[in-house]
């Protein structure tokens, strides 16, 4: 590089940048097209509605109904959000409004550590702690007999996994609210809680919804941890204590047999395509949501 003069170096750098940029910009499209291509065989032979809504999954017989997996994914994700959302919201409010700054300095590393723990380790912990807890204590307490490997276990583990993600966004949002707004409301005589409830929450609302949306998207695609505790049984779960099966788990568990049964590989690629579509859709919606509501 040192043998080139300034203009030549500039040209090399520029070319390098453009090539990289094109690669990155086309990535989502490449992903989509690639997966679509691979799942084409399946889509060609069955209608989309059939695939998504049919309940039977017997690949050896050529029956590919994705419904149980979609339902499994939806249950696990929604339930996880149900746990994460209030926890994160309350914690974010507490940490940004009620405590001193030093507390936040302790929280940050804690959140970072949680965020850094890989998926398998969460799954491991799920098997070690959560599953026995459900099968030995929670289940019987609710009068249910369960193995522990269930939608509930998966939701719980998943909710812990996405807490750092959502919490960081929420903390940022609440910290971004200018002090003046708080001071102005307080000087009208409102209590701290009233200030939060009526003023700050409203101002932060679009961001809060976006944070939850992103968390949802992230949870929907999570593979390993869920796979390890959800039970992996193909059926429509009737209660949270039942085992279930999610889309990512489907792909991960069966890739080994992919090539032995006809159209199985297309089916799994189709599942991946579904995941891609859901994730892109969510991100798109959240993005436009933020853009629209950022006028405040």
């Amino acid at each position: 590089m040192y043998l080139l003069n300034r203009e030549q170096r500039h040209a090399v750098n520029y070319t390098w940048m453009i090539i990289s940029l094109l690669l990155v910009a086309f990535l989502p499209f490449l992903l989509f097209i690639g997966l679509y291509f691979k799942s084409f065989l399946l889509i060609h032979d069955y209608s989309l509605a059939d695939l998504i809504f049919s309940k039977t999954w017997k690949p050896a017989r050529g029956q590919f109904g994705f419904y149980p997996f979609i339902v499994g994914s939806v249950w696990v994700t929604l339930l996880a959000m149900l746990i994460t959302a209030p926890v994160c919201l309350l914690t974010a409010i507490y940490v940004t409004q009620y405590t001193k700054k030093t507390f936040l300095r302790i929280m940050h590393p804690a959140i970072d550590i949680l965020a850094g723990i890989p998926s398998v380790v969460y799954g491991l912990w799920g098997i070690l702690v959560v599953v026995p807890f459900i099968s030995r204590y929670l289940g019987p307490w609710m009068g249910v007999k369960t193995m522990g490997y269930s939608i509930l276990a998966a939701s719980f583990v998943l909710s812990i996994m996405i807490i750092p993600f959502v919490l960081n966004i929420l903390i940022e949002i609440f910290r971004a609210i200018p002090m003046e707004l708080k001071e102005a409301t307080l000087s009208l005589g409102a209590t701290q809680w009233q200030t939060i409830k009526h003023v700050l929450a409203k101002k932060a609302l679009p961001g809060i919804i976006a944070a939850f949306g992103f968390g949802l998207a992230r949870a929907f695609g999570e593979t390993m941890a869920v796979l390890m505790v959800v039970g992996n049984v193909v059926r429509l779960p009737k209660s949270v204590f039942d085992p279930g099966y999610t889309l990512p788990a489907l792909i991960a568990n069966n890739y080994g047999e992919m090539l032995s049964i006809p159209k199985y590989d297309s089916a799994l690629m189709f599942a991946a395509l579904l995941l891609l579509a859901v994730s892109l859709f969510f991100n798109l919606v959240m993005h436009f949501f933020i853009v629209r509501y950022n006028k405040y």
Partner: protein, 270 residues
């Protein structure tokens, strides 16, 4: 509210405690320095060296590759496209979209590419797939840092007659070096811990690969396979392996904070 906050801290403590407790009990020097011998998964001797080295190699390769592709993109966005705000917004939007895609989608895509090019499951395939996965993470983190460079510094550099390349690679990089290092280490942490992307693409083996085209073992998968063993002793080894993986990631993340502070000296604080 207080409850929810301490709940999170408590859960963190529980997780760390349980993993450490079970893990430390089963860890041994032998585990760290040997590859699995025959029958390892049924209780025989050996260790997880194959997975440790495999993961390190794969994650490093992917991080380097992602850096080579990602840094120029982030610099391009912030330096060359400064006049074209709309284009920058579009690209940032595309980046945001890609950032949220689950790793298993990358894994499936990587697998398809592998078949298309006739590659076997291998270190190379794993590296390529993980590179794609961590690329958006790396670019976004670097972009965040590069955005904080004040325009006055750019103006000063332009006034000296620098061209855009020089401003990008000599000025911006030096000013943001701590942030860039953090981005790289963060991406490394994500890359090494992810199982779904390597599941179909890197394969698994009890040996150390002899080249890029051979399958390689990774820690997450190693943990998973050990856990699936019927022998309790092997299951305990899984916890030890989890401990190793978690420690690696924690060390990397601590390192990233530390290094950030070290390289701070030439950074100008505006």
């Amino acid at each position: 509210m207080i409850f929810s906050t301490y709940f999170i801290l408590a859960i963190l403590a529980i997780i760390i405690y349980s993993i450490f407790e079970k893990g430390l009990r089963s860890i041994s020097w032998e585990m760290l320095t040997q590859i699995p011998q025959g029958g390892y998964y049924y209780g025989k001797g050996g260790g997880i060296l194959n997975a440790i080295l495999g993961s390190l190699a794969l994650a490093s390769g992917a991080t380097v590759l992602a850096f080579i592709i990602g840094l120029p993109v982030a610099l391009y966005l912030n330096v060359f496209l400064i006049r074209h705000k709309k284009v920058v917004d579009v690209i940032r939007f595309l980046l945001d979209l890609v950032w949220g895609i689950p790793s298993i989608v990358y894994g499936a895509f990587g697998f398809s590419l592998m078949i298309f090019f006739g590659l076997q499951t291998s270190l190379l395939a794993g590296i390529l797939t993980v590179t794609l996965f961590i690329l958006p993470i790396m670019i976004r983190s670097m972009d965040e840092i590069l955005r904080t460079v004040p325009i006055g510094l750019q103006e000063a550099a332009y006034s000296l007659g620098s061209n855009k390349s020089e401003i990008a690679f000599k000025i911006f990089t030096r000013q943001s070096i701590s942030g860039i290092i953090t981005a790289v280490l963060l991406s490394f942490g994500r890359g090494i811990g992810d199982a779904a992307a390597v599941l179909f693409t890197a394969g698994y083996t009890d040996h150390l690969p002899n080249g890029l085209l051979e399958p390689v073992a990774t820690l997450p998968l190693s943990i998973f396979f050990q856990l699936s063993s019927p022998v309790p002793e092997v299951q305990n080894r899984a916890y030890a392996s989890a401990l190793v993986l978690t420690l690696i990631i924690l060390i990397v993340s601590l390192f990233s904070r530390g290094i950030g502070k070290r390289y701070h000296k030439t950074k100008i604080n505006f």
